[in-house]
């Protein structure tokens, strides 16, 4: 298709191309679609979530929190794959625009602008798909999941979810993307540029210029390798900002300070050894990355806070690293946006009172701790650090699996805190989601699965609290007007006390939890009632393994309320030796006797008006149990021993 009479307007197409690319960049920073939610209980406030090709922002936390009641998955779990691909698509679209005017064949030009054309279409299609899917895959086991009728989401216009009136509409970014697509169509039909000599010169100049621009980028990405016999410190000193340093296998006995942004990549067998003194690796440059290193042998001085890795700059990433024989593991100070992934910390073989923290975030917001393992350490500390996400971490044989204060809007999912003194202590914070974590086998003087003090808006869902002295402990949580603490769908089993409530805790809501074989399902500490908390929501209470249940109408909910009260327990509170008889027929006998011959009326500690007949499916994971023996024999034996202990106690006047 030769078009000798048509001369291309270079200036016009160039303007077109540059405007197109610029607009595309701008649209990336803007929302493409707006989702709004209005509900009477939120008054004037409208919750707005902005969806873009790269991000989801706005009232995501609020909407997720509401969504979890009706079983809608968290927005961040949606379209993860697409969001990873989106930058590539955008880059392809931009590149296509730049390339199109040079292509002589219209078909090729069409191919070049195809990404620009398809971007908005794909976006809308994908959004619609996910909105449908999120509703389709709604968790009907959630609190109000079953109560909500099927939702028909609309990509454009209004629909309702329960009390919420939702509306969806395109936003600025999407319109710009449409405009750019139109420009792309224009380019397809524009006259291609001819490669005249001066164009060649122009191209060469542009090529050189871009090469020149790229040069620093290439130079930045220069790779260094620590030479045999050389030190990492020297290599760091010789490297320029943005360089990558390969650390070959070998033991490097030195203390390293990274003061410019670098990427340190340890090859298998690369060990940085502090020789038992000071802090081994200190990172003072933002955007530094450390991968695949073994860091070991810090000092043991508290005064100097000797650590394996100390981070003092934002956006640092530590991945696939192992820290051994260190006082503190990763010690992050004013390090916003840092990431610690798949990293293992094993502390020094010291008594727990002499150890340092496995990971400490101090004044470092929006960090991510994912897939780490901390052992034989003191705490994982998160203080003054909001917006932290901790997922799939394991903290074992330490002091506080999680030591958390003055930090808001954090999420903990899929973590395992086990065999610590206290699995998690959460205080003075608001806006917390704890999902699918294990808080188990805490032993010690304050052996809590989860201690929650002076906190609001905490959502504890689908976790397992197993084998602790106290499964969950609440003190003045929730504390503020309108503050909420919801405990839903958790397994609380084999603890000495399932739930312990300080009397200042009012308004905690428990439902659909499974209380299994706790020595005491629920106890009130510090004297006082626990009746100001809710033990059922929407007519659904909890499963209590020791409850006497009767379900006449076969709706899975017992008509007999569950009352936590027992003469035996009241007595055991005062005669600790009786704890030996917990859960034995003797204890049951005593309670029965007390009902027949009431010496005093035990006060119910709490009443679950709608106990569940069956435990919820999440509680199906059951740890191995010790063998039972012959129950009849056990009963006779324990009755005799009960008589003996009671006799002795009475003789000493303990009971009277």
């Amino acid at each position: 298709m030769s078009e000798p009479d048509r001369t291309p307007d270079v200036a016009a197409s160039l303007t077109l191309v540059l405007v197109g690319v610029g607009a595309l960049l701008v649209s990336c920073l803007m929302p493409w679609w707006l989702l709004q939610a209005r509900a009477p209980q939120y008054g004037q406030r409208v919750l707005v979530v902005e969806v873009g090709p790269l991000t989801v922002s706005g009232d995501v936390f609020e909407l997720d929190t509401l969504g979890h009641y009706v079983g809608i998955r968290s927005l961040h779990t949606i379209a993860r794959f697409e969001r990873t691909l989106a930058p590539l698509g955008l880059a392809a679209a931009g590149l296509g625009l730049l390339l199109a005017p040079w292509l002589r064949r219209r078909r090729l030009r069409l191919l070049a602008v195809a990404p620009v054309l398809f971007l908005p279409i794909l976006f809308v299609a994908d959004l619609g798909y996910w909105m449908q899917r999120a509703m389709r895959e709604r968790d009907l086991e959630s609190a109000l999941g079953a109560a909500l009728p099927d939702v028909e989401p609309a990509l454009l216009g209004e629909y309702t979810v329960g009390q919420f009136r939702m509306s969806a509409e395109p936003a600025g970014g999407f319109y710009i993307a449409l405009l750019v697509a139109a420009l792309g169509v224009g380019l397809v039909f524009a006259v291609p540029w001819k490669l005249r000599p001066h164009h060649r010169r122009l191209m060469a100049t542009m090529g050189l210029a871009s090469a020149g621009l790229a040069l620093p980028v290439v130079a930045q990405a220069a790779r260094h390798t620590v030479p045999a016999g050389g030190t990492l410190s020297d290599t760091v000193r010789d490297a320029a900002a943005g360089d990558e340093i390969l650390v070959p296998a070998g033991v490097y006995r030195e203390h390293v300070r990274v003061d410019r942004p670098l990427t340190l990549v340890g090859q298998p067998g690369a060990v940085l050894d502090g020789g038992g003194a000071g802090t081994v690796l200190r990172i003072a440059a933002a955007d530094t990355e450390v991968r695949g290193l073994v860091v070991r042998g810090s000092g043991d001085g508290y005064t100097a806070e000797d650590a394996g890795i100390r981070i003092e700059a934002p956006r640092v990433r530590i991945a696939d690293t192992r820290l051994e024989d260190v006082l503190f593991g990763v010690f992050a100070v004013k390090a916003d946006g840092c990431v610690v992934e798949r990293t293992t910390v094993v502390g020094k073989p010291l008594p727990v009172t002499r150890r340092g923290d496995g990971i400490r975030l101090w004044y470092s917001s929006d960090c991510r701790l994912v897939g780490n393992r901390v052992e034989r350490s003191r705490d994982v500390v998160i203080w003054y650090s909001s917006g932290t996400v901790a997922e799939d971490n394991v903290v074992r044989e330490s002091r506080y699996g999680l030591h958390y204060m003055y930090s808001d809007r954090n999420a903990f999912r899929g973590n395992r805190f086990e065999h610590n003194e206290t699995a998690a202590a959460v205080m003075y914070s608001r806006g917390l989601v704890l999902e699918d974590n294990d808080f188990s086998h805490s032993t010690g003087e304050s052996a809590y699965g989860l201690l929650l003090k002076d906190a609001d808006d905490v959502f504890i869902r689908g976790n397992r609290f197993v084998g602790n002295a106290i499964g969950l402990f609440f003190d003045n949580a929730p504390q503020s007007r309108g503050g909420r603490v919801d405990v839903h769908g958790n397994l609380v089993g084999w603890n000495d006390a399932g739930v312990a409530l300080q009397p200042a805790s009012h308004g905690v809501r428990f439902w659909e939890n499974t209380f299994l074989q706790n020595r005491r399902p629920m106890q009130v500490q510090g004297t006082g009632p626990a009746d100001r908390n809710e033990w059922s929501v929407g007519g659904r209470g909890n499963y209590w393994s020791e409850a006497t249940l009767y379900d006449r109408d076969a709706d899975g909910i017992s008509e007999i309320p569950y009352r936590s009260e027992s003469t035996y327990e009241a007595l055991a509170d005062r005669v600790p030796a009786l704890a030996f008889f917990d859960n034995t027929p003797a204890a049951t006998a005593l309670d029965m006797a007390a009902r027949l011959f009431p010496i005093f009326a035990p006060r119910p500690r709490m009443v679950d008006p709608h106990p569940l007949m069956m435990m919820s499916p999440s509680a199906a994971v059951v740890p191995e149990e010790t063998g039972g023996g012959d129950p009849a024999l056990a009963a006779v034996g324990s009755l005799f021993m009960l008589a003996a202990v009671l006799g002795r106690s009475l003789a000493r006047g303990v009971v009277s």
């Binding site: 508290y302 806070e305 008594p351 202590a425 201690l451 027949l596």
Partner: protein, 679 residues
């Protein structure tokens, strides 16, 4: 599945004979229980009385524990409590006296703030002078409030002697002295170079009151910009010589030691092996200054950053000798100051690492150990004084702080760590070798064993019991805890916030004192008592050690001067004298009249009343409430008090007795007649 193996269900599914066994067991238990109840009947009267008691317990739906607690805390009419608890009223500026175990409020002693009931700075010249002399001086107003902390009963040979109470003022760097004879404040002393103190402790003979500053300020209390915090700002440890005869601080025999600009918080004096030393803990060794609008982290954020702060160990007996050498001290604002450099050079001051932002530091009754409560660390750390001393002598340092003070090796000073629970704040001691710590976060009190010689080494530093309190326990106190011979029996938890413990009576809530019985194997919570202000610590003294006067020893007593007043007036010697524009009224009060009861002055006159209560009967206090001139005096039996003012406005001003005194109390009145000018 787990459910099928649940013991009670197994029981239910098995044979019926088990039920029979259960019934037999139950009968046996009920029988034994009744017999035991009958046996213990003698404590509550005859058998029928017990039945009546049972009725009351059922009628009020009390649990056995609650019934027992009621019996343990009840003090029958006319009988006295076992202990007097002297507790701080915090920023109410007063001291409160409670009876233990009844927890009845017995008295409030005004200190830093005026109080109309007791006529404290409510027109009385003597108390007004105490407040004025205890203020910061020219350029600043007379202080009429203080944040009263940590009442301390004076000691003789390390035991309560029932003579004096000292209190500190976190708001103004002052100490005040109260006499336990009349429970009145005698002096308020503003410590030079100090603007705030959390705590002041007696030496074992109460010859010195040892006080450390909380907020560091530029040395000499001058101005320096906050940017010069490290170079100019300083803390102080003050050793105030106390004259027990007069109840005053002797400034020229007192001295100070300059300290780094950390917040030197609580302190404890050594005794026995650690005699002559004082231990202070510190926080903010980060030397943070805040600056939230200047892009610096908030104070509480920056001040809890470092892993360790420093326990200060100061050899003050040695410092006292150094202070006698004029070449080694500098006098600043009238007090001798030993500089930090001199303190280091003379080997007076050592630091021991302590877990960051600690709270309480407490010395065990015999002085062998220093216990630091970690607050952010779930342990109480026990340091051995012997080890500290050895480490200091052997030079086992892990470095020096920025000011050159040697830091002893942590491990070299450690005696033990006690896993008491989350948020330990303070420790107190009983007579059985136990310590008790308060846990703010756990809301618990933990009982633990002390090390040798209190317990054998294998039983040392072990937690033996724990009890939950209502909420946020701060201080706790046990009788005689800080003396050589603690008395045991009770612990009082001083809880911050009462939240829902008492009926809601507006948004400001009282604090909550919870009484705990520690006499048994397990601690038992007995009662809740609301209290005003914020209770910043207390002490408990056996009631028989309090030898307070019932009336003043002589008629015409000046309570502030603690001597007979020059203005004491005997009955029959009453007078009204005019000296120029001043009218002196020397009068007496007795049931139920004022002499004189008509006082005539002219507008513009200065009027000076000297009233003497000539009664010597217990409790025969009279008031002098004067309309319009903001005066109310409390004229305790034997007291002479003075009030003076200018009669600025003409008119008729009745005065009357504000304490109900007799059948003719309503008739106990008089007239102040202010005639208009020019008449």
């Amino acid at each position: 599945m787990a459910v099928s193996s649940h013991p009670t269900k197994r029981f239910a599914s098995r044979g019926r004979w088990l039920a029979a066994m259960a019934a037999i067991g139950a009968l046996a238990f009920a029988h034994v229980q009744c017999r035991s109840a009958a046996r213990s009947g003698d404590t509550v009267g005859a058998g029928s009385g017990y039945a009546a008691l049972d009725e009351i317990i059922r009628g009020r739906s009390l649990s056995p524990d609650e019934a027992a607690a009621a019996l343990k805390t009840f003090v029958p009419p006319g009988k006295y409590d076992d202990f007097i608890m002297v507790t701080s009223g915090g920023h109410a500026g007063s001291v409160l006296l409670y009876g233990v175990p009844s927890m009845r409020l017995l008295k409030q002693i005004p200190v830093y703030s005026p109080d109309a009931w007791q006529g404290w700075a409510q027109g009385d010249s003597g108390s007004a002078r105490v407040l004025k002399d205890g203020s910061w001086g020219p350029g600043l107003p007379t202080l009429t409030w203080g944040d009263l902390h940590h009442p301390q009963i004076s000691l003789t040979r390390g035991k309560y002697d029932g003579e004096w109470i000292s209190v500190s003022d976190k708001s103004a760097g002052r100490v005040a002295i109260i006499s336990m004879r009349d429970m009145k404040t005698k002096t308020i002393f503003k410590t030079p170079n100090t603007v705030s103190d959390h705590h002041a402790v007696w030496s074992d003979e109460s010859d010195y009151l040892i006080q450390n500053s909380f907020f560091p300020v530029p040395l000499g209390q001058d101005y320096a910009p906050i940017e010069q915090y490290k170079s100019k700002y300083r803390g102080t440890a003050s050793f105030l010589k106390f004259d027990r005869k007069t109840g005053r601080v002797v400034e020229n025999e007192s001295f100070q030691v300059e300290l780094p600009p950390y917040f030197q918080d609580l302190s404890a004096t050594g005794r026995g092996p650690s005699e002559g030393w004082v231990f202070m803990n510190s926080m903010n060794t980060e030397m943070a200054t805040g600056g939230t609008l200047e892009n610096k982290p908030a104070m509480e954020v920056a001040a809890s950053q470092r892993e360790m702060d420093y326990l200060h160990a100061l050899n003050w007996h040695k410092a006292r000798e150094v202070a006698k050498d004029p070449s080694k001290v500098r006098t600043i604002n009238g007090i001798k100051v030993i500089s930090m450099a001199t303190a280091v050079a003379e080997g007076l001051l050592f630091f021991v690492p302590e877990s960051k932002s600690p709270h309480g530091v407490d010395v065990v009754p015999g002085g062998e150990y220093i216990l630091v409560s970690g607050k952010l660390d779930p342990h109480v750390t026990a340091y051995s004084f012997e080890k500290i001393k050895k480490a200091a002598e052997a030079g086992q340092f892990e470095g020096k702080d920025e000011f050159g003070v040697p830091i002893l090796k942590y491990d070299a000073c450690l005696a033990g760590t006690i896993p008491v629970g989350l948020g330990p704040l303070h420790s107190v001691f009983d007579d059985k070798g136990y310590g008790y710590s308060s846990q703010f976060l756990d809301s618990t009190v933990t009982r633990y064993t002390l090390g040798p010689p209190y317990n054998p080494p294998d039983k040392a530093w072990k937690v033996v019991d724990k009890i939950s309190v209502h909420y946020n326990i701060g201080h706790l106190q046990a009788p005689g805890s800080n003396t050589r011979t603690p008395y045991g029996k009770y612990v009082v938890a001083l809880n911050k916030w009462s939240v829902d413990r008492f009926p809601a009576l507006g948004p400001l809530h009282p604090q909550n004192l919870q009484l705990i019985d520690i006499s048994g194997e397990k601690m038992a919570l007995l009662s809740d008592t609301p209290t005003i202000g914020e209770p910043h610590n207390s002490q408990m003294i056996p009631v028989e050690l309090v030898q307070a006067w019932t009336t003043y020893p002589e008629t015409g007593w000046d309570a502030v001067a603690m001597a007979r007043s020059a203005h004491a007036t005997a009955q029959g010697k009453e007078s009204i004298r005019r000296e120029g524009n001043t009218v002196h009224v020397s009068g007496t009060v007795i049931r139920s009249h004022y002499t004189p009861d008509i006082v005539r002055v002219k507008q513009g006159d200065r009027v000076v009343f000297h009233w003497t209560n000539v009664e010597s009967a217990r409790d025969a206090t009279h008031g002098f409430g004067l309309h319009g001139y903001n005066v109310n005096l409390s004229l305790d039996p034997g007291a002479t008090e003075t009030t003076e003012f200018v009669a600025t406005k003409a008119g008729v001003y009745p005065f009357y007795c504000t304490e109900f005194c007799s059948a003719l109390h309503m008739e106990m009145t008089g007239w102040l007649l202010v005639e208009p000018k020019g008449d």
